[in-house]
């Protein structure tokens, strides 16, 4: 029931798809751009998104 932290919503689904698709390539450009604060932040966001991606592919019993 809708009381936990993990919930999905069609109107405001998080940008997992965009991040997933985008950061596959964004990652490629990061070394070129150098390690300034922006790219560190983007890199961290990428890694966090990757962690979410891993969680999403782990087999789980579906209701």
């Amino acid at each position: 029931m809708a009381s936990g932290k993990e919930m999905v919503i069609m109107y405001n689904n998080p940008p997992i798809g965009g991040v997933a698709a985008g950061f596959g390539g964004a990652a490629l450009t990061a070394p070129f751009m150098g390690w300034n604060a922006l790219w560190i932040a983007l890199g961290l966001f990428t890694l966090a998104s990757a962690a979410v991606a891993v969680k999403r592919v782990i087999p789980k019993r579906e209701a």
Partner: protein, 410 residues
């Protein structure tokens, strides 16, 4: 005559009959015992309401009276399939009403020909929400604890077990509403394909979260009538936004708003895996953009209406993530273009190549229900990225329009 409306009252399994306001419909078919057992077995709490949420009276599922409302505006191409899907339910609804809202085509005639009652709206200027309010205003006073209202889109078709499973869930009294998860109908070419993949991933997410969802979508949701009546009372007394009607006609996403209303009244909701349907996809990029702009801006404005509450916290979190996502994706695109322009190539780093691999796997696995071709396309990343960037642009425009309070267009 209406039975007790005590929202936390005792169960009333098998009690007296509630009149159907003078209407009759297809007879309700008995619920299969195995499904009834599955719905009850192991799910009931030892103490109801221990989570602080409200319970409704428990009812015998075989005695639950289901009224279906299908608001339709010029849906002559879809309405027959919608009604047929209702006739094909294992647990037939008691009453099917098509609300013909300012139709200029044969929607009403086709609906009647397929056995539905038709009610035509009078002077409605508030689209779907206004149409539903007109009919609910007449129906709800006659409804009691045994009654449920299924609101569904005229371009959607329920899978055969939808109502059967939804009734079983609602009858326990633990839930105020049961929503569906949907897949996309054929059509629409490339843009249709992207939406079907998106819907497949959404449905997968909901299944993996065992029905947890933040919105009861307008595609199809079965409500306990008592919960809807409580919403009206709460709006009337100022505990919820909007006028004293079920749906708030001021908003762009009335289903999202009604979900927030129910949650703020401490009701529980669920989108169980068994309650599935198919719905039409937008067939052009232009239509899709308009739809998503309405969805995104509507959701944002719903949150603004309700403010910062313990219920809206996860919704605001999603909005924040969306905003960050927009910044990220466009920073990436800009940087990629710059990189290519300056050096003529992209630098590769093993760590980020590995991360790319993770994303490829995620895209492929999450769209597995759509078959091998879609999995292969998803693996390319760049194909679906077109759709993702498109959605991000719609989201960005929604933020922008809401921030500057630009005129809303449906």
């Amino acid at each position: 005559m209406v039975q007790s409306e005590n929202l936390t009252g005792p169960p009333e399994i098998g009690r007296g009959h509630v009149p159907d306001a003078g209407h009759s419909g297809p007879a309700a078919t008995p619920v299969r015992p195995s499904i009834l057992a599955a719905a009850r077995g192991g799910r009931r709490r030892a103490v109801k309401g221990a989570d602080g949420k409200r319970d409704l009276p428990e009812v015998d599922p075989s005695r639950m009276h289901v009224t279906v409302l299908v608001p339709a505006h010029d849906e002559e191409d879809q309405i027959a399939e919608t009604i047929t899907s209702l006739h094909g339910q294992r647990r037939r609804p008691n009453r099917v009403i098509v609300i013909a809202d300012n139709c200029t085509d044969r929607t009403a005639d086709i609906a009647r020909a397929h056995g539905a009652e038709v009610i035509e709206t009078v002077g409605n200027r508030h689209k779907k929400a206004g149409a539903l309010n007109q009919v609910l205003k007449a129906l709800l006073p006659e409804m009691g604890s045994r009654h449920a209202v299924l609101v569904m889109d005229a371009d959607s078709a329920l899978d055969p077990g939808f109502i059967e499973h939804a009734v079983l869930r609602l009858a326990t009294g633990e839930l105020a509403a049961v929503g569906g998860t949907f897949t996309g109908k054929p059509g629409g070419g490339l843009v249709g394909m992207f939406q079907r993949n998106e819907y497949a991933r959404y449905a997968r997410d909901v299944r993996r979260l065992r029905g947890k969802a933040l919105v009861l979508t307008g595609t199809a949701t079965l409500f306990r009538a008592l919960a809807l009546k409580e919403v009206v009372r709460a709006r009337r007394s100022g505990r919820l936004p909007g006028r004293d009607q079920v749906y708030d006609v001021r908003v762009l996403t009335e289903d999202n708003e009604l979900t927030l209303a129910l949650l703020h009244l401490d009701f529980r909701i669920l989108c169980p895996a068994e309650c599935t349907l198919t719905t039409e996809v937008m067939e052009t990029w232009r239509d899709l953009f308009k739809q998503r702009l309405r969805w995104k801006r509507g959701a944002l404005e719903n949150l603004t209406d309700y403010g910062w509450t313990r219920i809206t916290l996860p919704y605001w979190g999603r909005q924040l993530l969306s905003l960050i996502g927009i910044i990220v994706i466009f920073a990436y695109l800009g940087a990629t273009a710059w990189s290519i322009a300056v050096t003529g190539a992209l630098a590769l780093h093993p760590l980020w190549v590995a991360v790319t691999g993770v994303f490829m796997v995620e895209r492929v696995v999450t769209v597995r229900s759509r078959g091998g071709v879609q999995m292969a396309l998803a693996a390319l990343l760049v194909v679906e990225m077109i759709f993702d960037v498109f959605l991000q642009i719609a989201q960005a425009k929604a933020f922008w329009d809401a921030a500057w309070r630009r005129e809303r267009k449906w």
